[in-house]
């Protein structure tokens, strides 16, 4: 809503008649500017793009290098031979497999829980008007901005006193502290796009409010609910600080698991760690391919709309 103050006009249709009435010198200036701005744009993309993508290239090269190649100095920027042995080494590591399974379980449960709870809350925020609604909405929005490190300190003592440390429950509940606000805001935005007239029609047809929500609104909002769930999955998958602290090797997820497996060793196995880094990144990269359409809305959790 912040950016749609001017209705976007259909560009090409509008631009053509405009250009015809544009006086000559201005048109020439426009064209010169256009050429100049194209050159500037391409240089910016090339320079920033090259610098920005170099680390990605290095990630790939190292993951495909033998230890002998990776640990030579100065490093060879273009590899002479490639190997997939780093990936097969990962596959044989049982501890890493445990972390992977934990990541899958915890991120999935977190996503489902967040979406279910956030659907009701987001629907309530979107389609009803009552006292305290705005304060609640602000509380939800603000809650994602409070420091995780501080939240973690008390969560640790609370989970400890309930005997929940080193359980999936602790991880799911701690991840929900940041996925739920995100899902509530995203889903409120989705429900806002469903016309009120539809709800009124359902009511006139005799559907109860529960039925309206479950069999009319929810199916319509399903793509948005899946997107919110994917966002929650990714955020849970990427979490580091909570899983690092609230669980040990048995229940830990991949990000802290990789740190404890590889970092702080006498000699870090960089090629293997880079291979592992690629493997951890695959699910989130795939998820984002599906999320392209929801990207801008999801990134700020509904606080900015394009």
């Amino acid at each position: 809503m912040t950016t749609t103050t001017t209705t976007p006009l259909p560009r090409d249709e509008k631009a053509a008649p405009m250009a015809m009435t544009t006086p000559r010198p201005a048109r020439r200036r426009l064209r010169k500017d256009l050429v100049r701005s194209r050159i500037a744009a391409w240089s910016a993309v090339l320079v920033i793009g090259a610098l920005g993508m170099l680390p990605v290239y290095w990630l790939l090269v190292t993951a495909l290098s033998t230890p002998g190649q990776a640990f030579q100095f100065p490093p060879k920027l273009i590899p002479t031979e490639i190997t997939f042995s780093n990936f097969s080494a990962l596959a044989e590591n049982d501890q890493l497999f445990t972390y992977l399974v934990n990541s899958m379980i915890v991120a999935t449960i977190t996503a489902v829980l967040s979406v279910v709870v956030a659907t009701y809350m987001g629907y309530s925020f979107s389609k009803f008007r009552y006292r305290g609604r705005r304060s609640l909405m602000h509380l939800v929005l603000a809650s994602q901005m409070f420091p995780q490190a501080l939240l973690l300190v008390t969560l640790y003592t609370v989970f400890s006193s309930f005997g929940l440390l080193n359980t999936y429950t602790a991880l799911v509940l701690s991840f929900t502290t940041f996925t739920m606000p995100l899902c509530v805001w995203m889903l409120k935005g989705i429900f806002d796009t469903i016309p009120d007239a539809l709800l009124e029609a359902a009511s006139i047809d005799g559907a109860s409010r529960w039925r309206t929500l479950h069999s009319i609104v929810a199916p319509l909002a399903a793509p948005g609910m899946i997107a919110a769930g994917l966002f929650a999955f990714v955020r849970g998958w990427n979490d580091f600080i909570f899983a690092l602290t609230l669980a040990d090797k048995e229940k830990q997820t991949l990000p802290p698991g990789l740190v404890s497996t590889y970092i702080g060793e006498f000699q870090t196995a960089w090629p293997e760690l880079m291979a592992a880094s690629l493997v951890v990144s695959v699910p989130v990269v795939v998820a984002f391919m599906f999320l392209q359409r929801y990207l801008v809305g999801g990134m700020t959790a509904g606080s900015v709309k394009s």
Binding site: T3, M18, P74, A149, T176, L199, I204, F240, S303, V304
Partner: protein
């Protein structure tokens, strides 16, 4: 749009307001238990002496707060601000430049946008691993390239020296943040009608003039939100710093996040950890209030 929900006509026992509140109940319960209660209770713990591993606590008044204010608070605040400002402004400028470039009608800009998103999409620890490897003192590719080009005489221990560690951390976080700022700003730029540019050009405005007169007023809203959000996130950022340096060397990259974490989980001192956390939260509160004020003014939270 005051009461948009359908009025219940037959047999509804609950009023609409009650029904709406009922819908929020599971969320609110979860919220109260895992966010509100822990944060509020953390604020109280700051006034006690309490060990993470032991039961029981003792009221000590302001002792934990004065401990920080006497030693460390100033340094931590300064370093947090250096990190936050650096890791907010630099990716903003890069992201803005890229957004402007991609918005000028380049072929394949959709594909490029997707490609540039990669650093932001991948998990934070992966970003940290990758840059740890790049900055590696013995085998790192950065030293290799800089030596080759003659910019440095001998390998630099980027993460091991207080003088360069903060820079390295900021570069790492910048790499992870510029893509989302680019996407947001690009979305903002795409709402600027081309006609405005053409009209301004007809009036004789050059490219720079047009940027400030036409483009900037249109994207200012998105830009301020992007900057403020990134500032808030960096102000409490933990992952990159913890993995890359752990707050070191010699505390040179210590921020509120790492200091609170270390004093709670390495020093086991809950009182001191939450006291510092309380001061930290006060500062964040100002930022969050500013954020809510801006979004409210834009009428987003209707």
């Amino acid at each position: 749009m005051s009461t948009s929900a359908p009025r219940q006509k037959h047999g509804g026992r609950l009023s609409n307001g009650a029904f709406a509140l009922l819908l929020t109940a599971p969320g609110l319960a979860l919220f109260a238990a895992i966010i509100v209660y822990p944060l509020v209770s953390a604020l109280f713990t700051g006034f006690f002496r309490q060990d993470l591993r032991l039961p029981g606590r003792e009221f000590v008044g302001l002792e934990n707060f004065t401990y920080w204010l006497d030693s460390g608070f100033g340094t931590i605040l300064k370093q947090t601000l250096v990190f936050t400002v650096g890791a907010t402004i630099v990716p903003f400028l890069i992201g803005f430049a890229l957004a402007l470039a991609l918005n000028s009608g380049l072929k394949g800009s959709g594909f490029l946008r997707g490609l540039f998103l990669f650093p932001w999409v991948i998990p934070g620890v992966v970003v940290s691993f990758l840059w740890m490897w790049i900055f590696n003192a013995n085998y790192g590719v950065l030293n290799g390239i800089l030596l080759e080009l003659g910019f440095i005489e001998e390998s630099v221990s980027w993460l091991g020296k207080p003088g360069t560690a903060m820079l390295a951390v900021i570069i790492t976080k910048t790499w992870a943040s510029f893509p989302w700022m680019m996407v947001m700003l690009l979305a903002g730029l795409q709402t600027v009608p081309k006609e405005l540019h053409e009209a301004a050009a007809m009036d004789g405005a050059g490219a720079i003039r047009r940027f400030f007169a036409v483009t900037w007023p249109q994207v200012r809203g998105v830009a301020s939100i992007v900057l403020l959000l990134e500032f808030i996130w960096n102000f409490q950022h933990f992952d990159t710093i913890y993995v890359l340096t752990g707050g070191g060397p010699a505390g040179a990259t210590e921020t509120f996040a790492t200091a609170v974490y270390q004093s709670a989980f390495k020093g086991f001192d809950l009182g001191r950890a939450t006291a510092l956390g309380g001061l930290w939260m006060l500062l964040l509160l100002v930022l969050v209030a500013a954020y809510l004020w801006i979004t409210e003014r834009k009428g987003d939270a209707r």
